[in-house]
Subunit: 403 residues, 2 copies
Amino acid sequence: MGYHLKCVNCHKTYAPDHDRYTCDDCGDLKGTLEVVYDYSKLTLSREDFSPYEGLFQFTDLLPVGSNTSIDEAMGGTPLLEFEGLLGLDRVLIKHDGLGFSSSFKDRASIIAVNKALELGYDTVYCASTGNAASSLALASAHTPLKTVIFVPSTIPKGKLAQLLVAGAQVLPIKTTYDEVFDISLEIGRKKGWYCRNSAINPYLLEGKKTAAFEILVQNHYEVPDFVFVSVGDGTIVSALMKGFREFRDLGLVDAIPKVVGVQARGAATIQHVFEKGAPFEPAPEEVSTIADSISVGNPRDVVKACTYAQALGGTFISVSDEAILDSIHEMAASTGVFAEPAGAAAYAGLKTMVASGEIRPEHLVCVVVTGNGLKDIDAVKGQTPVEFYEVAQVYELMKGETE
Amino acid sequence: MGYHLKCVNCHKTYAPDHDRYTCDDCGDLKGTLEVVYDYSKLTLSREDFSPYEGLFQFTDLLPVGSNTSIDEAMGGTPLLEFEGLLGLDRVLIKHDGLGFSSSFKDRASIIAVNKALELGYDTVYCASTGNAASSLALASAHTPLKTVIFVPSTIPKGKLAQLLVAGAQVLPIKTTYDEVFDISLEIGRKKGWYCRNSAINPYLLEGKKTAAFEILVQNHYEVPDFVFVSVGDGTIVSALMKGFREFRDLGLVDAIPKVVGVQARGAATIQHVFEKGAPFEPAPEEVSTIADSISVGNPRDVVKACTYAQALGGTFISVSDEAILDSIHEMAASTGVFAEPAGAAAYAGLKTMVASGEIRPEHLVCVVVTGNGLKDIDAVKGQTPVEFYEVAQVYELMKGETE
């Protein structure tokens, strides 16, 4: 499928090229690129797609083909529907905690792995708060690619365990994610490695947008009114908006959901930039939140995220760490979906807008869960103290209860 | 679909009944029951099934229908194919670590939840080393069912976290799984709760057998020569054998794979019983292994497992804890599949039989991964020490490496 690249800031276009990541004029932070397909040559119909077939069924709207043994494990995560949740008629949950590496980031990593193989690279690298890293390490494990991972040393244990077993070269650095990102770019570029940083490499968003396609296909093309998703660098929220837009522009649906990017209150940089209004200027902040995946002070895709949101009716809100932790428990106990903190942030965002009355019972809402709770069990441990029983105690307890 | 129950030991038959779990004559341990459908009334063809549609596409061969909001997240896990792994032409991996609660046990829990709802129970309970418990707790979370969980206090942290967030009543008891099982049965029966213990409740195996169906459908009905799976109580291995047998008996395939049940060397009770030969007599042992999911000294489904294996060409082997731990790393690094210890035991079993020459390169082999490595990260931690770097150290390290 033919495509070219377009700067999200100045709209300058570029031909696809091995080493082309961002706009020459606008730079890495403002000049992220968008992949633009030759849409007029595409004729797609609803019958071309099936609910659980996975990410590579959308090859016509992807910048790379399927070449690896694990491609068919990518995407196709369940879309669950619950009635009466939070007083709403219907709530959908897109459970990407059930992806190959148990996070949404697989959708981008598999694009990077296939692209790196296609282009003949021998090494792929990324900076990550954890999920992109563990996803890349596991997705590349069976290939000849060498994988180098830059993460902050605060990475949760589950994500670190995934990295270690996958056999990647792991560099946990004693600094913030934002500095880790800069270090990775500097070293990766010098070495000539392939970059799996979603906010820099325009192809990765293309993998992420398939979650939007799947939500529409799995929901039988009924368009949700609102879609909630947590926001770190800003790429996932941009990806969902682009995916919804493409399906609308291709005539597969006739509307676009309002995408709500949910940030932690202590790391709400994109919300602040968005609320200041266009022209959107990156404005890094010092941040702090228990939701490691979205603990980002210098979000690299802020311009794209805000630009898309402005054009497509998206918005940004933030929620407290306490609300996030409560949501992990509340969502699991009411739906069985166990999310990591960033995943539960989306649910906390929904709760906020239900409480404010912006979401009404008849709205069809979709919550995107971006990571499995097993990745960061320390986030739940303290909340629910557990007692260990002697055998006799159990009998006593059970006796006392109903007899 | 019509069905009746048949004792696996004396072949006495029973009509399905609310409180019917085992054979009156043979007792709980020897008299487990098999669900027998009215196969002659079934006409199924290959076109009736699709590769990723999930467990409830097999409703004609299940003892319960689909009634809950999460049913469509059950089953349909990926079947991956790798060339050249361990020197074999083709190895399939059925990755049930990507199930709803990240383990194979979802296939049984969803049957229990639907059955309990259908029969009007208000409480469901189980004894579990961890996965059945966390699976049941998450699968029942969105229903009105109360869930009571009996587990040994040694349950790995990830599984415990899943239980706690799901809001189940959790009773971690300071004793072995085998005693926990007895305690749960005694209390559960007295209370009149619905029993989700696979080895007692004959319907649960029916959910588990869908993994066999899926392996055949996803592999386009090419029958593997060998299927490796870890063994705890013996129900999963029995379930796979029954599933393969049913598809053969229904004419959907013309052969049955040799199912190899893999135990930990320190908990190889079923292997010992099987090797003694028929008539198979339960012979409980003291056991010890790091693979918590298969640390079972009094396997409740031993008679069924051995009977099926004898009839259908199955067998049992055991592997050391060291081989299991090594296999976690080796499998992840060569396939990207991160398994918990019991899941990796199946891979260790394959390695053993490759080394012995029983498996040859041209054999088509399938390894069933029954649980996600994220459930028990302590099992990998010690193996790969990790260093945390200062920023300057990273630059130094990277400089030294290739420039």
